[in-house]
Symmetry: C2
DNA sequence: TCAGGCATGTAATCAGTTACATGATTAA
DNA sequence: TTAATCATGTAACTGATTACATGCCTGA
């Protein structure tokens, strides 16, 4: 274990001595999404599903109140727009102070490892024996799941970044999406190798 | 009560149409850890830091109340033991019904992708330009962080699984730990390649 | 006309973190 | 003797999910 000799100032959660928690990251995610272009709360909510669900999640019930707080703080502003003849929507955009606040966060050191809650890894962890009859089915289930997810990511990659101009215009987005594709590809390879390894043991 | 349409189905969070959330996984983690051998609450707490922090986290303030609930449900039992002459500790072990409850969960389909909250990926996502002066430093910071983490995992691997007998005795643990080492190795390779790619662009 | 999506919010609950609180044991 | 660790708990708060609630718009 990597020990931090701590003088009990900040005693947050750790894994292997590494810091984990972050406070109110949601506000920065919203500011970041608005830094790309103006959006409604509904569009922000959709972005959490489609664009950044890979590494952050939030529901609309969390987003709308946060929008109010950010506006109170002067980091964003909204103007009303009409969808059709009656349905009002609030289109939010970043203010200058909001952009500064966002950039301060991006520039700050990120000393926390990503937080992962992986239920499959957990189940695997508790299986003692390579001959456990549940293992092949569990692995196949994950192969199917992650194949589907990889297909989704690949489609997004093709939609967004087919040429160098697109990659240059949103370099960070391109980096994280291409990394996600790589990561899922590598994970699928491991799942398949592990499943194959079990089969070989069965036939010994 | 005023009738709303669309009553109560279950509309949880998704990424790309995939289900995410799980309810009270903590209880199963505790049961799983106790299925390995009996432990105190303190030892369970330590296990979240040292053994399974890679894919699940919990503090002692969450663990102690959950132990009470699991005991109320009859899934675990404790007996008191003395550490020294006065200090009492509660050593918990799994009951038969607890083991059944745990195994039901392990056998259940895992249709949810792992939940990840990755602040670094988020920051990267919001960087538009490959020439952003913050990028090299950010990448180097992550390289240092994940190198340290990989070293920690490698030490654990060496401590726990040096021979085939150890790997066979806790096969699932071996699988997830060896996978974690692979994943971190692959991630570090990507970080370094990406950082190197930036340098080349700088010198063009 | 009707289903699915667009659009915005709040309420209730659950999960998770941080801090408070106390005291014993061990080894330097 | 004193710092680190063992040991157990609760309180206060923040974060996140699920459900409740309402109403408009578009296209089949």
């Amino acid at each position: 274990m990597i020990s931090g000799k701590g003088q009990a100032k900040f005693c947050g959660p750790t894994i292997g001595g590494r810091a984990l928690a972050q406070r109110n990251v949601l506000q920065y995610v919203i500011l970041g999404l608005l830094s790309q272009h103006e959006r409604t709360g509904y569009e922000l909510s959709a972005a959490f599903t489609n664009e950044i669900g890979e590494f952050w999640q939030a529901q609309h019930s969390q987003i709308y109140p946060q929008l109010g707080k950010l506006e109170d703080q002067g980091f964003i502003q909204h103007e009303k727009a009409l969808a059709g003849k009656k349905l009002e929507k609030k289109v939010y955009r970043l203010t200058d102070s909001g952009r500064t606040y966002l950039n301060d966060w991006v520039g700050d050191a990120t000393t926390a490892l990503p937080v992962t809650k992986d239920e499959f890894a957990l189940k695997l962890f508790f299986i003692k024996d390579a001959s456990d009859p549940r293992l092949p089915g569990m692995l196949q289930e994950q192969i199917d799941l992650h194949q589907e997810w990889l297909a989704h990511l690949t489609v997004r990659m093709g939609d967004l970044f087919t040429n160098a101009t697109q990659r240059a215009a949103n370099f960070g987005h391109y980096l994280v999406l291409s990394r996600a594709v790589e990561r899922e590809t590598d994970y699928l390879r491991w799942l398949q190798e592990t499943a194959a390894g079990l089969s070989r043991k069965d036939h010994q």
